[in-house]
Every structure is written in C-alpha cells, then in structure tokens.
Symmetry: D2
Subunit: 331 residues, 4 copies
C-alpha cells in the first residue's frame, strides 16, 4: 500500500475504526479526542459471499482511509457476532459467511498495522464510555435496542468480554416464564419484549386484528402491515399519536425491568441505551426510568444508576473500535 | 497487644480472615495455600448492641488468633451487608447495628495491621476461586442459596464490586412478572423461588394444606410446620423421600433459570453454588444443570459454563477475606 | 310461635330472606317487588359456638320478623360457605362451626314454613338478577370483590350451582403461573390480584418500603400500615389521590383479565361487580372495562358483555334468598 | 325428494345428524340409542364457494341418507363456527363462506323436516353426554384439543350456549400473562399451550434448534420440520419415545391447569377430553389429572371432577346433532 502523508496536527496517535454491520461496512480515522476525521464506507457483502470477499471489502476501506492520512498506528474492527476471548477469531457472524474466521491474522498479513478485533457492542460501549454518554463513569452497561437486544459491559474501566468472549448477550435473559417464543428456541427472552422487532410486531398485531386502539393518525403515518417500521412508529409518537406513544412506553417498561435485573447483578453507574429504538428518546426512556425505579430493590436507599440515551449514534462502534486498537497498540 | 512468636514454616505471609455472619463471628489464620491453621469464634452480638460491641468482638477474635501466631501481615473482614466501593465503610449490615460504620479505620486504630473489609459473598467467591471449586478459572459467578440469594462475581481474575460496591445482588433479579411477593417490596424476585426460605415455605404450604403430596416419610423426618427446616428436607431427600426430592428439584430448576440469565450477561466459565441448600448436592444441581442447558441460548453451539458445588463450606468467606487482605497488603 | 296478622296489601306472597355473614345475621321480609319491608339483625355467633347457637340466632331473627308480619310463605337462607347440591346441607362455612350441617331440616322442624338454603353469592346474584343491576338479562355473572373473590352464575335465567353445589369459586382461577401465593395453597389465584385484601396488601407493601409513590395525601387519609383499609383507599381515590387511584386501577385491570376469561367460557350478557371494593365505582370499573375489551378475543366482532356495579348493596343476598325461597315454595 | 321406506325396528324416532368440519361433511342416521345406522359423506366445499354450494352439499348428504331410511323425524346440523342464540343462523364459520347465514330456514325450505342447527362442540358434548363418556352425568365440560381448543358445557342436563350463542370458547382464556402470542391477537391464550398446534410447534422448535433433547427415535418416527404432525408425535410416544412423551406431558400439564380454572368456575362432575390430541390417552391425561389435582383449590376436601377421554371419536358431533334435533322436534 502507498499511504498519504499525515497532516493531522494532534499529538495523540490516530487509529482506524471499522464497523461491520448487516448492511454497511463503515470505516473512519479517529483522533485522540474521538473525532472522526475521515470516513469511508462500502456495502456489506451478501452472506453468500466468501470470507475472502468480506476481507477484501475491509482492506479496500482501510486503503481509502490511509490514502487520506497515513499516520495511523492501529486498526480496530467491530463486528456483529461472537468474537473469541483472544480477540483474534470471529466464531460466528449472523450476517456474513464467517465461521471461526481468523480475521486478525488474515488482515495482519495484508495490512502492515496492528489489528484489533472485537464484538460491535463492545466497541460501541467503549466509544460511548470514552467520548460519549458514559464519559466520567467507570462502570457502564450498554443496551442496544435493534432487531434484538445487544449489549456491552464496562466494569472498573475495562470491557467485560467473559470467559469465551460472549458476555453481554442480554437479549436472551428470560423475563417471562412461558412467554413469547424467541428465534433462539427459548421463551420469554427480553428481546421479545424490548426491541425494534417487538415494537413492530406489537403494532402489526393490533393492525392485523383491526384493533380499535389503532388511531387514524397511526394508520396514516405508519401505513399497513408490510410497510410498518420502527422509525415510523417513533415518528408517529413524536407527532403526538397516542398509540405510538403507548407502544414505545410498553417497550420502555420492559426495558426498565431488564435494566433493574442488570443493576442488581452489576451495579453500574449508568445505563446507556443505544440502537435504532433509542431515537425515541424520552418517549422510551421515561417509562424505562419509572419502571426501573419501581423494580430496583432498595430504591430510595441505594444510589441509582442513571439511564441515558447513547450520544455517538451509528459511529459509536467505529470510534470505540479505533480507540480500543489504539490502546492495545500503545499500551 | 502481645503476640506469640510465629512457628509457621511457610514462606508465604500469613493473614487473618474474619467472617461476620448472623450468628457467629468466625476467625482464622490462613496460610498461603488457603489452609486455616488456627481458629477462633464468638457469638455475633445482638442487633441492639452498639457498633463498639461488635468492634470489641472482632478485636477479641483477632487477639486470640495473634496469641497463637503473631506472624500475620494483614486482616481481612467479610461482612454480610453493603460495603462501600472504597472497602472502608459498612453502609448497612442486616444483622448488626452498623449504619455507615467506618470499620476499616476504626479497626486500624486498634490493631496495628492492614485491614481489608469486603462483603462476605465477595470474600467467599474469592476463597473458592483461589483454593476451592473455582481453581483454574478466571471468570466465576457464585450463587449462595441461604435465607435469600447472595452472590459474587469474579471476572478476569478480579472481584467485581460495582460502582457503589453492591454488585452481586442476584436474589432480587425478577424471574416472574407479578410473581411471589418479596420482602424487598417487589414481586417475583429470584430468591422467592430458589433459596432456603423458598424451600421451607413450599414445604410448609403443602403441610398446612394437608396436601396428598406429603409422604409419610416426609412427615416423619420433617415434622410439622414449626420445626421444618431446610436441612431436614435435604436429609429426607437423601433418605430417598420423593416429596423432598421434588421440592429440591423445583429449587434447582429455578436456580438453573436464573443461572442461564447470568450466563447470557456475564459468560463465566463456572458457576459455584454455595449456601446451606447446596448441601443437597446433585439433588439440587442436576435439575439446575438440566434447566440451565435448556434455557441457555445457543446451547450446543457455545461453550457451556459448569455448575458445581462450593468446596470450602462455611470457611470460604474467612479464607477469601484473609487472602484478599494478604494481596491488598502485599501487592 | 305466635305470628302477627299480615297487613301487607300486595297480592304477591311475602318471603323472609336471611343473610348469614361473617359478622352479622341480617334478615328481612321481602315483597314480590324485591322491597325489604321489615328488618331484623343479630351478631353472628363466634366460630367456637355450637351449631345450635347459630340455629337459635336464625330462629330468633325469623320470629322477630314474623311478629311484624306473619303472612310469609317461605324462608330463604343465604350463607357464606359450601352448600350441597340438594340445598339442604351446609358442608362447610368458614365463619361458623357448621360442618355438614343439615340446616334445612333442622330449621324446618322448628319453623313451620318451607326453608330454602343456598350459598350467599348465589342468593346475591339472584337478587341482582331479579331486582337489581341484572334486570332484563338472562345470562349473568357476578363477581364480588371482598376479602377474596366470590361469585355467582345465572344462565338461561337459572342459578348455576354445579355438580356438587360449589360452582362460582372464581377467586381460585389461576391468573399468574408461579404467581403470588394464595391461602388456598396455590399460586397466582385471581383473588390475590383483584380483591379487597390484594388492594390493602399492595398499599401496605408500598408503605412498608417507604416507596416514593406514597403521596402525602395518601399517607394523610390512609394512615399507617395497621389502620389501612380498603374503604379508606377508596376514600382517598375519590378525593383525587393519584396513588389510591392507581391501586384501584391495578385491581380493576386484573378484574378485567379474569372477566375476559369468564366471558370466553360463559358468554354472559352482563358482569355485575359487587363486594366492598365495588364501592369505588368507575375508578375500579373503567380500568376493568378497558382491560376486558383488550383481552376479549374477537373484540369488535362479537357482542360484548357489559360490566356494571351491583345495585342492591349489602341486601342483595337477603333479597335474593327470599325470592329463591318464594319461587321454590310457589313454583 | 323420494324417500325409502323405513325398515328400522326401534320404537324411538330416527334422526339425521350432520357434522360440517373443515374437510368433510359427515352425515348419519342415528337411532334412539345413539347408534349410527347409515352413513354418507362429502368433501367440504372450499371456502371460496358460495353458501349455496355448501347448502347443496348438505341436501345431497341428507337425500342419500333418506334413500336408505326415510323414517326420520328431524335433522341436526353441527357446524364449526359461531351459531346465534336462536340456533337459526351461522354467524361465522372459519372454513366456509358463511357469514350470518340463515341456515335453518334455508334448509327447511328445501327439506320437509324440522332442522336444528348448533355449534359442533355443543353437538359433540351432547353426543358424549347422552351416549359416550358422559353417560350418567348432569354437569359436564368438554375440552377438544385440535388445532386450537374448542369446548362445550352441559349443566343440569342442558347445553349451555351463552347470551349470544358463543359460550365454550375456552381456548382464549389467558393462562400466561405476557405469554405466547395467539392468532386472536392476545397473548398467553390456553390454546397456545394445550392443543395440537402447540404440540407440533414445540416439537418443531426443538428440531429447528437441533436440541439435544431430540432423540434418534423421535427423529426417525417424526421426520423433519415439515412432515411433523400431532399424530406421529403420539405414535412416537406410544412407541416409548421419551421426548414425545415429555411433549405430550407438557400439553397435559397445561390442560390440567386450565381444567382446574374451569372446575373452580363451573364445578362439573366430569371433564371429557376430545379432539385429535386426545388419541394419546393416558400419556396426555395422567399429567393433566396430576396437575389438575395440584391446582384444584380445596383438593382433598371437595369432590373432584373426573377427567376422561371422549368415547365417540369423530362421530360425537354427528350423533349429538341428531339427538338434539330429535329432542327439539319431539319434546
């Protein structure tokens, strides 16, 4: 590779962060303050494509970034999926063909820079903890409400990855015995009650049953069963629609219940709520906070964790991955 | 104080561990292999007694131990209750008059040795992790089934205490929405389904309702409502009684459900089950393991944490407290 | 007995109704329009008293009534407890010493009039169905929210008593698997979620835990743990207190869920809500109606039962018992 | 129509019963002992066909039967769907094009015999009550486990139809708050836990998740996801397969819970279990009985309803419809 000369004035070393999601591979050069100073992105290759194609895509993003500023000391990759405890291998990625993919070594051979691989939720909480909604906190839990629930944990200022690298799978904690069936095969998983999918499923059930709860405004903004999405429900809620607000509040209440469970176990200082549904802001978070307070044992007598919206949006993973790589390469 | 001359041959420094429980203050001198080489114990002062009386009791135990071997480098205290994040103050102890008691400094003034204070469950998991059922594991979760559920967490070889020092309160995770009322004010808390109290409560309910499930053997061994205790139920189960086995299996199944939730969040290598009910061994643990396996998302595809009985019995807390103090004093 | 001469002008025969409750034995002469034209009452004998004492009390009430108007053709007794399918024997009465008490025959020997014995809830729904909130309906279900839940069923204009005379025990339908323990030995019984006892228990739990939900107004009106009662909570709700209203709404929501279950099974035209808690009126019934509508399968497409408050208050049982006796004696 | 001369020796009048199901229109001439002496059947017309086509099919079956024995006094029709309280109109039939179809009058115009129309579950329980598993009982509840749960009620020897003709919809009683979503739009309906569909769904979930619970025998007998049916699961269970037995036992346990709720409300002498799943016999019914006993309030102190398998199989509806028609025409 030929690299452009760095023109960045900062003294802190630059790092590249790459976030590999279901639809986009997003990359950026991140400075020591967490600012993304250059960006590049590609479509995520389809699941049928070989691991080599995905690797090529990543290398292509890296090269485009290095062409803009070559003064980069490390590259961090955040990927949806299970990453092993050594941070070298992607054991399983739901959107890609990777199965036990030795991503770190494969990329190291092609890019002459230290590579750091982590789960995308770990990258995101690290980004939020260093530069976003978690600044100043040493104990954080992040809950991302997307199609399911993803999560990350930082305790004592360190990312918690677990014995096998798969901590933070909050979405499959059972909240309701004999409850709604989850794709994982169990019943009553948290993500069946608090996630973007749950939000859309509940709205569709009401529409399909021609429920009198469906308001004209909701029907107008959200359209029919097939076009209904989480973002339009949020839009309807922000336009004041009562049903949309109730649906978000219901998601929020289940969010608060699960958060109370995590608070009992982990005692963090803050919960950061990310993912697409978190765009609803306080329409989601206020019901969560109220339910959390009601379910928190010792409420009134013990310090309460705050519940806040994520601050870095879609770039939390990219920023966090870069920062983790920088620290790993420059300990 | 006048201290006896040390006669201990080991090169590792000795430490004293003190476990302050609801009925006993148990102390011991613990060597570098986790062996308790000297012991002393007193009754726990009643809750109506002043903090000074409790302090005197601790000092008295320490003096008795130092008289047997003065070559001690640190003292660790494990106490039931909330200990703040600085490990200096007991915020609240259910069995004692302590409220925001500055225990570390108070004892330091009276005993010329480094003092280390921690929650008893943290001390216990540390003891098990260093010398008991968790040896060789870096990521452990301990679940103690006593009157309620207490817990401890070790991740990456370090005790997890949380932002405010109160992590590990697993007993108040909600397993059943609208479930059995807990003394904490909530409903459906885990400890209402898996604990010694739950075991006795269920047995009593059957007796009080003259259930046909009550076998003659159960009635003979366990006696009536008032004399029924967890240990006699375990005794009946070990004698082959079907009802006692079913009651323990029910506790075990709820244990397995909660453990699956913790596994999803924390991904430990091992769960260590302690507390009085764990004396039932596999009569409790086999149903827990089976339920755990059924509830674990990704079962068959992800490494499974082991579920084992604690190995150090009542002395886990004492041994762990001593070891934590030794490490703290000799980093 | 010597009886006063009847001065009643109506052509319809008069009957006496007696309602035997936990604290009072209330009797009345009831005319053909359901009006109570004469009254008499005694304290209910304590449970330690012999069946003979209870019998004497009933006879004494009857004699006092007959002294006022002797032109009575039948006597109906409504008693809390199980009455057998032949309407002759009280199998069990929770407040009295009766166990398989042959009440009908015992009273017939002492009073020269036809005697009719029934469960008090059956008497009450009959009263409401003939002269109260159920006039004009052929299919009715009554749900009485007192210390527990009692119930009655009228289908096709006839009281449903069941094979063994114990139909209508709605309070022990299980609404929550693994739910709140009931005195009956089961868990999750309806009456643990919707009854006067549930209302008071929930309020006490909040007070005992010093919940921030406890408003100053609630604390002022309802006093402390020991003096808290259902009626004062209703009083607070009617004075506008938010917590009291929320507590009643919660009872109402559970009421609506159970009613939806009964509607699916029995398809009545009306649900009549009686018992002490029903004094809260729409503060209870509106949440019940809303929840009922949401839980009713086929909502919007099938006719919906109405949910109304009972109209006859404490005298429903007495009036109904008299009317049942009159019809039985004058078929 | 031209009718064959009757050769039947019995003195009791003959009647025709017709059972209109999702796939077959089955008819029979039924004598006064409930024996089916002649049979005829047609395929059920597709849902897209007009009501006239269905009517023609029924008339065709009737004519074929009358050609065999013309000495018939009445015709009873049992149809899946809602039949109004006047027994004249089929309000809704899930498998047919009928919407508010005036079936009784339409058929009366074409067939010169008294016509009686009822819901198929009402016809079935009546058949069982008169000639099958319910002989000798006055208070019966029938629970049919098919794709969903259908039900019927007989109290005091009379079919209970409810205010609007739709009593007995037990399948949509809510057994699990926040439970499995039902097609009706609600959550936690009984039929999501105890029905043929539930049985197959649970088995498929285990197969799809490659559960270690799936035994080789089960895989061999039941095949894969697409070919799995309720009857083959029953076959596997009868061949001794452990998973199949556990799956049926789970259905049975939920059956027992719902039955206990119905027993509390209705106090029948017997529950008759019909529908396809009931072919599993005691593999289903024993777990139901055990759970019923455990959930029945006052167990040990009150008479317990029996739980028995239906005796008339597929012909219960046909036999019951004929008998209802005969009684209606010859009161």
């Amino acid at each position: 590779m030929s690299h452009a000369k760095s023109t960045h004035p900062s003294t802190a070393p630059l790092a590249i962060g790459i976030d590999i999601g279901g639809t986009k591979v997003a990359g950026g050069i991140v400075d020591g303050d967490g600012a993304v100073v250059h960006r590049a992105r590609r479509d995520t290759p389809e699941r049928s494509k070989s691991p080599k194609v995905v690797e090529d895509t990543i290398v292509s993003v890296v090269e485009e970034l290095l062409a803009q500023d070559a003064d980069v000391t490390a590259i961090g990759i955040g990927a949806a999926g299970f990453v092993d405890a050594d941070r070298a291998t992607v054991v399983f990625a739901p959107h890609l063909s990777w199965r036990n993919e030795p991503l770190r070594d494969a990329l190291s051979r092609r890019i002459g820079l230290p590579i750091f691989v982590d789960n995308d939720a770990n990258a995101a909480i690290w980004g939020e903890s260093r530069f976003g909604a978690g600044v100043g906190e040493s104990h954080l839990v992040m809950v991302n409400l997307g199609t399911g629930i993803g999560g990350g944990i930082v305790l004592d200022g360190k990312v918690v990855r677990g014995r096998h690298g798969i901590a933070g799978e909050f979405g499959h904690m059972q909240l309701v015995p004999d409850g709604i069936r989850c794709e994982c095969g169990n019943r009553g998983c948290w993500e069946q009650y608090a996630s973007g999918n749950a939000l859309v499923r509940e709205a569709r059930a009401l529409m399909d049953n021609h429920s009198p709860m469906v308001t004209p405004l909701f029907a107008e903004i959200c359209g029919g069963h097939d076009v209904l999405t989480g973002p339009v429900i949020t839009e309807a809620a922000q336009a004041g629609d009562l049903l949309a607000r109730e649906l978000l509040a219901e998601i929020g209440r289940w969010l608060g219940i699960g958060i109370a469970d995590l608070a009992a176990a982990l005692d963090p200082g803050v919960f950061i709520i990310g993912g697409g549904v978190s765009a609803a802001g306080d329409l989601l978070l206020e019901p969560a906070r109220e339910t959390f307070r009601r379910h928190l044992t010792g409420r009134g007598y013990r310090p309460e964790a705050r519940i806040v919206a994520a601050a870095l949006g879609n770039e939390a993973g990219l920023i966090g991955a870069a920062d983790l790589a920088r620290h790993d390469a420059n300990p």
